[in-house]
């Protein structure tokens, strides 16, 4: 998933989602491969797990506006500026779809935002990395959105109907963004030597963090402490972290070749026997540091988000007061 649903081995664990009977109607829908809808019976733990996952996905969309928003003012051509503004606008839209999907589970968007703002809910680790050059707009589109798509396409078949339907719309737009990112890098890698160096540097910085978006390995010392087994039983998650990561690598390596850029992993090579690319070990220490709040931009991202929310309080209050006055007039 897009929002991290895993924790550092020594970090605070999300509350266990145990308990709650699994009604026969619920089990029948799952067995049948059908969709659970908001009015259907569902275990309380299923509901809470989905609220957490969808909310953290929504939070990732809105925090994800910041690293790209950082370059809107400086985009190097008017066409690129327009594309970037449209993309960040799409991300706000994805946030809206996802909060709406979460609200069908009986929670309130304002409350979910409060949980983001005070750190009870998380967002994707990847948005704690800085965007240092224009080429980062390409690397984010190609690698980060590419990883998000691999994570999210299976969610289009997730057992909860509103989430699955939101993901169908989100994935269409994400695919478009991913192609735009590829095109930015393609232009740079075929441009001046300075542009080419900028593109390679961005890919070097974003490659490993993109692989970490899939979460810790399913086996070994870094095995996920999250909810994979339960999520798979409930039809929320369809594939393991490592399966999705492998799919992403297999998809991305030939694209890097098409770009004429290298990926910063000397052990990356095709394995005929497995029918997959082998890759070097991933150092998850960095991921765990980032999700504990010690990434390069965690504090800036939260300060920006909380600052916007606080600065806008008087505006939201005014809109509510104005609406109340109009309602009163309508009654009178």
């Amino acid at each position: 998933m897009y929002g991290n649903d895993f924790t550092a081995p020594d970090g605070p664990r999300p509350a266990p989602e145990a308990g709650g009977a699994e009604p026969a109607s619920f089990l029948a829908v799952l067995a049948d491969g059908g969709r659970i809808e908001p009015r259907d019976e569902m275990p309380e733990a299923y509901r809470r797990s989905l609220v957490r996952q969808i909310a953290q996905h929504a939070h990732s969309e809105i925090i994800g506006m910041q690293p790209e928003g950082n370059w809107i003012a400086r985009a190097p051509s008017l066409r690129r500026k327009g594309i970037l503004m449209a993309k960040v606008q799409d991300e706000a839209g994805h946030g809206l779809y996802l909060y709406a999907a979460a609200e069908t589970l009986g929670v309130d968007r304002a409350d979910l935002l409060d949980q983001l703002h005070d750190g009870r809910q998380k967002y994707s680790s990847i948005f704690n990395y800085p965007t240092l050059t224009w080429a980062d707009m390409g690397a984010i589109g190609w690698l980060v959105d590419g990883a998000a798509i691999v994570n999210q396409v299976p969610l289009c078949r997730c057992s909860f109907g509103p989430y699955a339907r939101a993901m169908v719309r989100v994935c269409k737009e994400e695919s478009f963004h991913q192609r735009q990112g590829f095109e930015i890098l393609h232009t740079l890698s075929h441009g001046t030597p300075a542009q080419r160096a900028m593109a390679q540097d961005a890919v070097d910085r974003y490659w490993w963090p993109s692989l970490m978006m899939f979460g810790p390995s399913d086996t070994g010392p870094d095995a996920a402490t999250g909810h994979t087994a339960q999520s798979m039983a409930w039809g929320i998650k369809r594939f393991s972290n490592d399966e999705l990561r492998q799919r992403f690598i297999d998809m991305t390596v030939p694209q890097a070749e098409a770009l004429g850029l290298t990926l910063p992993d000397p052990e990356l090579r095709w394995n005929d026997e497995r029918g997959h690319y082998d890759h070097g070990p991933i150092d998850f220490t960095e991921l765990f540091d980032v999700i504990k709040g010690n990434g390069p931009c965690n504090q800036e991202r939260m300060a920006h988000r909380v600052g916007a929310h606080e600065d806008g309080a008087w505006v939201r209050d005014a809109a509510a007061a104005y609406a109340a006055k109009r309602e009163q007039e309508a009654v009178a």
Binding site: G69, G191, H309, V315, R316, A320, A321
Partner: protein, 254 residues
């Protein structure tokens, strides 16, 4: 770089293009900083519309000029003394009330301007105006709704909205300034006489302000000059940020 005292056809189109471009740049600041998610979307949308208008107008200005300059040459490789936008649009707008006051003024003026410009003898200008008319009608509606909500919301929002109007009003007069416009552009039917927009724009603005329980500010107008490339100190920094990357890589394509 000797700014001309009277405007040519190219300068006239550039003025309108720069109004839209600089406004889009200021609007882009809000994306991820709006009071609510719906507003992030709306402001990005409005910024994109304005950027689209700027691109069409800059491309047209480049073709009229006939020196092979495209939209990016004109946006990124002119200095502040060559920008022709009104000073209204270049000042920072990092308060939501100011942003909505600004958008109300700009969209009211643009809607009157583009309505008239659809009859321009310059067919490209007429076509751009026809498309932009639909967009600025939406911008105006959005700004009007917010000015009403803020003006007639809480005591705090009322005071902040009034302060925002007071800050924007001195810059409105420049929209109607004719001192840098070659009168032949109006007689030939290319341009809309700026002065002709004064009455309808001020009337419509006054209607919204009063409906919002606010007062039309009575303030002295600021000296015009943007159309002649005489700007506030804000524009230089805006352009430094906007143009920096492009200028660091001369000859590159993006």
């Amino acid at each position: 770089m000797t700014p001309r005292t009277t405007s040519t056809h190219v300068d006239y189109v550039l003025g309108l293009a720069d109004d839209a471009l600089v406004s889009a740049q200021r609007m882009g600041w809000w994306i991820s900083r709006a009071p609510q998610l719906e507003e992030d979307l709306a402001l990005a949308n409005i910024g994109l519309d304005l950027l689209g208008q700027a691109r069409s107008l800059l491309s047209h200005a480049g073709r009229l000029e006939g020196e092979g300059r495209d939209e990016d040459d004109l946006a990124y490789w002119r200095d502040e003394r060559d920008f022709r936008n009104v000073k209204l649009v270049e000042r920072p707008q990092e308060d939501f009330g100011v942003a909505m006051a600004r958008l109300l003024v700009l969209s009211t003026w643009q809607s009157e301007l583009y309505a008239a410009l659809q009859r321009s003898s310059d067919p490209v200008l007429a076509a751009v105006a026809a498309k932009a008319s639909k967009e600025v009608a939406y911008h105006h509606d959005h700004a009007r709704q917010w000015v009403l909500r803020l003006g007639d919301g809480t005591d705090e929002s009322h005071a902040r909205m009034q302060a925002a109007l007071d800050a924007e009003w001195p810059w409105i007069t420049e929209l109607f300034d004719e001192s840098h416009l070659d009168p032949s552009l109006v007689t030939e039917g290319v341009a809309v006489a700026p002065e002709s927009l004064r009455e309808p724009v001020l009337r419509r603005l006054g209607d919204v302000v009063r409906e919002a329980t606010l007062e039309v500010p009575e303030v002295a107008p600021r000296v015009p000059g943007g159309r002649a490339g005489l700007h506030t100190e804000h524009l230089g920094r805006l352009l430094a940020e906007m143009q920096h990357l492009t200028r660091s890589h001369p000859g590159a394509t993006w």
